[in-house]
């Protein structure tokens, strides 16, 4: 067997992203939102993505479905999906993939639902065979929405944020049972018990049909429960990738470390939470390490040169000082 690396994963490869770069055209010029992003995903593997707001997580997911905003452009990279070159596919073929093999749970449920159509009708738009009452019950029950069975004629505004989010999870995950599920902060509007139910459901889907997932969240507890490997993004780049356990036990990138220190459970009640000084603004355009302006251990080299990825075993880190004993 060939040696495995961070960017590669074991046999049963489903997705391979290489050097992906996406820019947005804005009034003030082009914004490089995603740069040099590479990762692989095996069937049945769950890849967690965390990182600063605006670091490009949603852009990566939408690029994978080729549903980027009109002002966005993929400027380089390759996306291999089960042997096909996704970026070369024609739109009808891509649409078929989105129909049953690649599912997306979008970040803002309210904006993905039509406000003037009953939720029952919208469920039927997305899924065939829903007239079978047993199937509907199974679908809603899976996300703890059994109670909505008698309210399907209601419109989105009649439901709570978490109820709508769960409807979209039911459609994308349980309804389509895709080979690749892209979940963009799917549990942020859910309480802990319902969240645990959704996480169990996704893990069960992975075990039963072998779905692979990219799971974006800001919740470090959630990401540690769901992920096999975790990628940390900062200013458009994947700055660290590591197996879940390892990332928490021994974070290597200074941004990852700062992230772990900012969580409230590491503080006494009422004491100000630790934050990361400075801002990410403008970091996408720096020629050196994008974290250098905020990094407590930055060297001159960091400001001048963007660190190349260093791979060790299943991990990857982009930091000039990663090898040092600090």
């Amino acid at each position: 067997m060939a040696a495995m690396t961070a960017a590669q994963s074991p046999a049963g490869q489903l997705l391979s992203v290489r050097d992906l770069a996406v820019v947005f055209r804005t009034r003030t010029g082009e914004v490089p939102a995603v740069r040099e992003v590479s990762f692989d995903l095996a069937r049945g593997e769950i890849f967690g993505l965390v990182g600063e707001s605006g670091s490009g997580k949603s852009t990566v997911l939408t690029a994978l479905t080729r549903m980027l905003a009109r002002n966005a452009r993929i400027t380089s990279g390759r996306i291999g999906f089960d042997g096909a070159d996704l970026l070369a596919l024609r739109e009808p073929a891509m649409r078929r993939l989105r129909g049953d093999r690649i599912g997306l749970i979008p970040q803002r449920p309210m904006t993905s639902l039509s406000p003037a159509t009953s939720i029952g009708r919208q469920l039927r738009w997305h899924l065939d065979g829903l007239d079978d009452a047993g199937r509907l019950k199974e679908l809603l029950g899976g996300v703890g929405l059994d109670a909505l069975l008698d309210r399907l004629d209601g419109y989105p505004f009649e439901f709570s944020g978490g109820q709508l989010q769960r409807l979209l999870i039911a459609v994308a995950a349980l309804g389509k049972q895709p080979d690749l599920l892209l979940a963009d902060e799917p549990t942020t509007t859910l309480d802990a018990t319902v969240q645990a139910q959704v996480l169990r459901l996704l893990l069960e889907l992975r075990d039963r049909v072998g779905s692979a997932m990219v799971f974006v969240t800001h919740d470090l507890g959630v990401i540690s429960q769901i992920s096999d490997r975790i990628g940390v993004m900062y200013a458009g780049r994947l700055v660290e990738v590591a197996p879940a356990r390892e990332l928490f036990a021994a974070p290597r990138h200074p941004y990852t470390r700062a992230l772990l220190e900012a969580i409230p459970v590491r503080h006494r009640r009422g004491e100000p939470l630790r934050t990361i000084p400075g801002t990410v603004t403008g970091a996408n355009r720096l020629s050196g390490c994008p974290f250098a302006p905020r990094c407590p251990i930055a060297l001159d080299l960091c400001r001048e040169e963007n660190p190349a990825p260093r791979e060790t075993g299943l991990s990857l880190v982009r930091c000039h000082r990663a090898g040092e004993d600090l």
Partner: protein
Amino acid sequence: MSVISAERLVKHYRIRSGGRRPDRVVHAVDDVSFELAEGSTLAIVGESGCGKSTIARMLVRLTEPTAGRILVQGRDTVDRRAVQFVSQNPWSALNRRKSIRHALEQPLAVHGLHPGRAARAARVRELLDLVGLTEEYLDRRPGGVSGGELQRVTVARALAVEPRVLVLDEPTASLDVSVKALLVNLLADLRRRLGLSYVLITHEIDIARHLADRVAVMYLGRIVETGDAEQVFTDPRHPYTRALLAAVPGIGSREPAPLLRGEVPSAVSPPPGCRFHTRCPMAVDACARTEAALEPGPDGRRVACLRLDDLTAPPPFLNDPS
């Protein structure tokens, strides 16, 4: 003194069934009472769909209670200035086509505060300063600033009319860890400097724990447990509170919490007796018939559970920080 007293609030939504069936009623909030002490923070936590946002909307008068009343500083009159709202989604709270300057000036204009261009501009600068933003943001539109910055703008906007109370509905839900920490610090700082009181609705138990003095735990339209925040979070009593806290994922934990068994009941036909009995691991036959009152226990907290006396074993919940 209480800055807000909510007395037996009820909100029922009638949903039409189009003639064939009788109209149905969603029991979003049923008989909820609480007090918010001046300068304090009350966290409301609970299951998705249990009525938290509905309470928020009643407090800020976006919707009228079906029954019950809300006293603000002891008075039963509608005061649109004293209680302001910060919603979960800053994008939908602000007009996308208008500048941030407009967002901050508009409430001043509506309430006729700081009349005159110069006075208004000065107040807007003051507001930006309060939330730690600079004037360069004024001419940007909501699309041009990050989520964390925009959430500061919505806080500044809520503060424009000098309210006594902010109702915060999941204010940090979509923010990343470090931006979240900044906002939590900002809220704590504003509370101290301006003597504000908060009603904080959140699914993030760690944030509730960090900011709140008191907490109310809701399940299906009702408060099931309420008391001193530290007490409830370290030693929860109601079986639902226990399940909720036990499900909070600890950093580095590798498995989601086990499921609550049983049917999730509908708010259209809430179960008789204790509303949690269909899923409660402690339920006995009586729970399906009798609803326990929200009784104050010896330690001052209130728990609505028939088996209160058996709920004393110390629970091993909430992962320790170390």
